[in-house]
Amino acid sequence: MAIDTHPSLPEFEYIRPATLSEASEFLANHATEARPFLGGTDVFVRMRDGALAPRFLVDVKHLDGTGDLHFDPRSGLIIGAAVNMNRVIASPDVQAHYPLLAQACRTVASYQLRTRATIVGNLCNASPAGDTIGACLAFDAHLHIHGVSGPREEPLSSFFLGPGRTVLKPGDIVTAIQFPLPPAGCTGVYLKLGRNRLSDLSIVGVTALGGPDAACPSGYRFRLALASVAPVPFVPAAAEAYLAGNALSTETIHQAACLAAEACTPIDDVRGGARYRKQMVRNLSERALLTIWKTLAAQPAA
């Protein structure tokens, strides 16, 4: 944002394709001029700011399957691209099986913005601060993408290339995100540190998910994902491996939290400094892991 930000949206043409194929084709044919959009909460701001000036905005909210939210006890959860975050938060299936995802959505901006904001939009923006990305990574989600050559699926783990950059090609539309069944007995937490208590972008965001796993020497498997401390949200693999390989204790958790802090590469910006961010990754990772450990320990043995 700068003082020469436009008062209103600059001119563009609004395209509302009838089918996914039509949408992919249009986007591919106007690769440099067209942009798909869902809730617009990010794209409109960037257009006012002059950072984006698409000739065509392609509304992909009404296409096949993008409005569905469906849980299958065998295969997991699928959330259509156009499903807004308030719907995700209110979904009994999400609350029952993926409460971490609802918790992460709930930290995004305000209720009225979440009427428009979507998880898929959050992913496609590939912001370093994306609040829901960590939960999606922790649950090993994958994406349903429709491109010029038809539908395909891709794992989220290799989706991000850098800030604002993904593997999507012209014509690609993310139609849904799919979550496998959550690990049995898992529990998760998203700790977001903003300047205000709610509604802010994160200075640091720590997602943690943990559950019993006999395959791990420690008996537990933890997932961690960190936001706002690297070009894109990422998983600190060394910290996860350390937790898997060592008997769980406050010291193990502290060491893992230090490894998480070592793995991040934060910058100084208007929201916070790098030194502080590293410290916060350590402290919040520790707090998150301790919270989960406490919850897991209180659960009856499986």
Binding site: M1, P7, S8, L9, P10, E11, F12, E13, Y14, G39, G40, T41, F44, V45, R48, L57, D59, K61, N86, A109, S110, Y111, Q112, L113, T115, R116, N196, L198, S199
Partner: protein
């Protein structure tokens, strides 16, 4: 430039309007329909002064394209009172002293109304969370929170 023709129902009245694609719902309301109760405070989805109900759910109208509203039901602050009888949230914010300059008030009322529609017995924490997207610089929020609590008792 392409002009789109849309049909929207605003505060119960159906309207047919020709609009350019770049027009936001906020500008449609304020400029095309002269419903100026909905306010423009930031044009970036941050301050909440432009909050209206779109098909029953609150949105920042500055972040919605008018063209996306074809076939939609819109309720603005002007549509809250029925037959000159104030909505309970309107009466409560007067009674609690939650109005000062009044510029954030329309958005606050819409967000409050939407909260009570989905959660008729909100806790104080629920109220605070439901209003984080409505900035107020005058009141310090305490009387607004109190107003929503009062309104919940009247529903």
């Amino acid at each position: 430039m392409v002009v789109h023709s849309i049909e929207v129902t605003v505060n119960g009245e159906p309207r047919q309007i020709a609009i350019p694609p770049s027009m936001t719902l906020l500008r449609l309301l304020r400029e095309s329909l002269a419903l100026t109760g909905t306010k423009n405070g930031c044009a970036a989805g941050e301050c909440g002064a432009c909050t209206v109900l779109l098909n029953g759910e609150p949105v920042n109208s500055c972040m919605v394209l008018a063209v996306e509203c074809d076939g939609a039901q819109i309720v603005t602050v002007e549509g809250l009172a029925q037959d000159s009888r104030l909505d309970p949230v309107q009466q409560a914010i007067i009674d609690a002293g939650g109005v000062q300059c009044g510029f954030c008030t329309p958005g606050i009322l819409i967000s409050s109304r939407a909260l009570l529609d989905r959660n008729p017995e909100p806790s104080e924490e629920d109220i605070r969370e439901a209003l984080v997207g409505n900035l107020c610089r005058c009141t310090g929020y305490l009387r607004i929170i109190e107003a929503v609590r009062l309104a919940a008792q009247t529903y």
